[in-house]
Symmetry: C2
Subunit: 436 residues, 2 copies
């Protein structure tokens, strides 16, 4: 083994909320983020919701000196919004677009247009790791939750969590260390997070951290450090202030959405695992809170998560273990499968009703065509329909036919993907049960 077998890795993760024309004071905030990143010199920076390529280019120019390597993942109509800045060379990238991501007609939610994805990036730390230590670095964002009580998108988010877990399982085996950062839009105790963690063996940096800090002024550790010591981060659960990344005292958050959670919620994560011959420990986890240093606004409507990881090479290879005990994992997969089944039945109902609508519109059109032909052939007795209403009706029928057919095709696809996921989960359950 050459060189020092340990590496301290500082990782920064933030949902930047940089939607062109929609996000408040976007350009100002992107500048602030760039300044802070340049000042603080992390090793790896994972950003989400950088929807504008110009914002990425600006950041790239600004950060070129301290983060010579970067990548922007393109997908969907608007983009994936994912980008990565790194001190270490980026060897290779791969983008995986989730097969389900909301509905195109839910324009007010807009998730469908974003092409939400997981971007995988392979990197290799330099001398510190003795030339070894390839990282797999998935960065991702899952479908947003708009209403926790009646969450219509839960099945889609579970399909995404499952696909994300499967993607990590299949691509991470050759890496030494896997690091996942992103806005998962799920609370720590939600079934999707338990599924993702259980099925991949990823550990939650927040729960594992030896030290936890809330950085009072932006990301600069020392000057803004509030010296808050958590009781025991691992024991921290829903509604706990520590580690929350969507907090009521951020001026950009929607206060009404956080009413049931007066201390905020934790939906942004840094997860990690060592695959073989390495150990990873989270030395320290920090989140931002309040405004950026010297400014009246925070970086984003989300708080940033910053982890310091201690990676150490070990003699013996650690097995690729599952994080959760297997009977518990089987329960989690069963729970997720039940929710996917609920979504499947809803999708089947919608497929049926849009199909019926299309057939009705087609019948109406055929009827009209028959009436028009009849009138042309002089068969119609008495006064024919007024031309204007007749053609308006025909256009309406054509419009409904096209719309209903499009929706029918969409829901057919949705049904297929939900069925596929349900079947994969069934296979996984069987495999879990068959293990000695």
């Amino acid at each position: 083994m050459e060189g020092d077998p340990t590496l301290r890795l500082r990782v920064f993760d933030l949902n930047c909320w940089a939607i062109r024309y929609l996000s408040k004071r976007r350009q100002e905030r992107v500048q602030l983020i760039g300044d802070a990143l340049r000042r603080d010199g992390f090793d790896l920076v994972l950003l989400q919701e950088v929807w504008s390529e110009r914002d990425y280019s600006d950041l790239k120019v600004k950060l070129g000196g301290c983060y010579p390597f970067s990548h922007y993942f393109r997908s969907g109509v608007i983009g994936s919004g994912l980008c990565v800045f790194s001190r270490f060379p980026i060897l290779d990238t791969l983008l995986y677009q989730y097969s389900l991501n909301g509905y195109p007609y839910m324009l007010q939610h807009g998730d469908w247009f974003c092409g939400k994805s997981v971007g995988l990036l392979r990197s290799r730390a330099g001398g510190g790791m003795g030339g070894h230590g390839p990282f797999a670095l998935p960065s991702c964002q899952l479908h947003a939750e708009y209403c926790r009580e009646k969450d219509a998108y839960l099945p889609h988010r579970l399909v995404q969590a499952w696909e994300l877990a499967q993607f990590i399982r299949h691509t991470s085996k050759a890496a030494d260390v896997v690091l996942l950062g992103g806005d998962l839009n799920m609370h720590p105790e939600d079934v999707g997070i338990r599924l993702l963690r259980g099925w991949t063996g990823l550990r939650d940096a927040f729960a594992e951290a030896t030290r936890f800090e809330v950085s009072g002024e932006g990301v600069s550790g020392v000057p803004g450090y509030t010296g808050r010591t958590p009781t025991h981060p691992g024991a921290c659960s829903q509604g706990c202030e520590d580690g929350c990344t969507l907090v009521p005292n951020n001026c950009f958050t929607v206060k009404s959405e956080l009413l049931p959670f007066p201390l905020g919620i934790r939906i942004d994560y840094i997860l990690y695992k060592a695959v073989s011959g390495f150990t990873v420990k989270c030395e320290e986890l920090k989140t931002t809170t309040g405004t950026a240093p010297g400014m009246d606004i925070p970086f984003s409507d989300h708080e940033a998560v910053m982890a310091t990881l201690h990676i150490r090479r070990q003699g013996q290879a650690a097995g690729d273990t599952l994080a959760t005990a297997e009977p518990t994992l089987a329960d989690v997969v069963t729970e997720a499968r039940t929710e996917v089944g609920v979504g499947l039945r809803a999708a089947q109902r919608q497929r049926y009703s849009t199909g019926r609508m299309a057939v009705l519109a087609l019948l109406l059109l055929l009827l009209q065509a028959a009436a028009a032909l009849g009138a042309l052939a002089g068969l119609a007795a008495g006064q024919p329909f007024p031309k204007l209403s007749f053609s308006l009706l025909a256009f309406l029928a054509i419009g409904i036919l096209l719309l209903a057919t499009g929706l029918h095709l969409f829901h057919t696809m949705e049904v297929k993907m939900l069925q596929g996921t349900e079947e994969q989960m069934r296979m996984a359950l069987r495999a879990l049960q068959e293990r000695p």
Copy 2:
């Protein structure tokens, strides 16, 4: 090492051309395929274009005895058409849908609706491999080529070939042996095939085979064996009868498309590579030709490819080498990138023209709204427009606006994906050039 360190693996690959309502004598052929597979007992069967899930279920029932493990990959509106039957347990699956796959408005070609994908399957051979030997088994189909002279889909097919190669690179590292089977819709000397082979290190079973046979009557090796010995299969190039999988003497092929290739073309492949500590050799390659045994029809419009691979465990680990010498590989990537660039400029033009069309339709609508408001306010001097033409025009404008907006969004997405691929290829080229 326990058990015999070698394994003889018999692989079957066929594009089944089983499109409901469209493919000729579909059910009869699916039955024939099932009978042949049951009789001949392969180890792994990779099928494409099994678009109907009922066909898959029928095959599953029929083949349950000799192929206890199987998987059907669901995707898109119609499905991916991919399914796998295996003698060995299927451990895990993953589906990757290509980001580009033709155009939704090219209804006569229909590729867009199929959700063409690569399905990855992990399997593990039993005692013969001493309990080791996980396979990665991607099975795939790329966008069809409808006109070789003016191939509008070439950029999309190249994006698919690149994504397929990247997917294999990222997922295969933990496997001992990678086996890719499928209808790649590319001739052996096409840039997409050279890119896929060069970038992944996969070897072409046909070019590597020690023996090559054309099986005269279906898949049964001995009775129908025509005893044809190739001069040297590796030297066989375009238009060579041996190995061709789309041949003029198959009654289902479109003869006019094969006019420039009187002996047929080879577009279905079995590719393989050993990743670590193993060697793979192709002992024998066979293709079907003519009709199925005792019948007046062939199995499909494609010929089946059957390979016998000899897998052997070795002491030392073989490096994950690229198949092509690196300067040559750089040329191939450059060539592919140029073609993707051509596609990108075409997509940008289409994005622009559909955007302009949408703006014009919107202007017309606004003009009409102004005229209608003017008429309502009594400002219009003289005779207003006849109501019927006026509303017909408005409906036409709305229709064009919706259609043009949809197309504009689609081409925006296309541009993003082509740009993303071009950039990835640029990164790959830089990495190739920087290597010592």
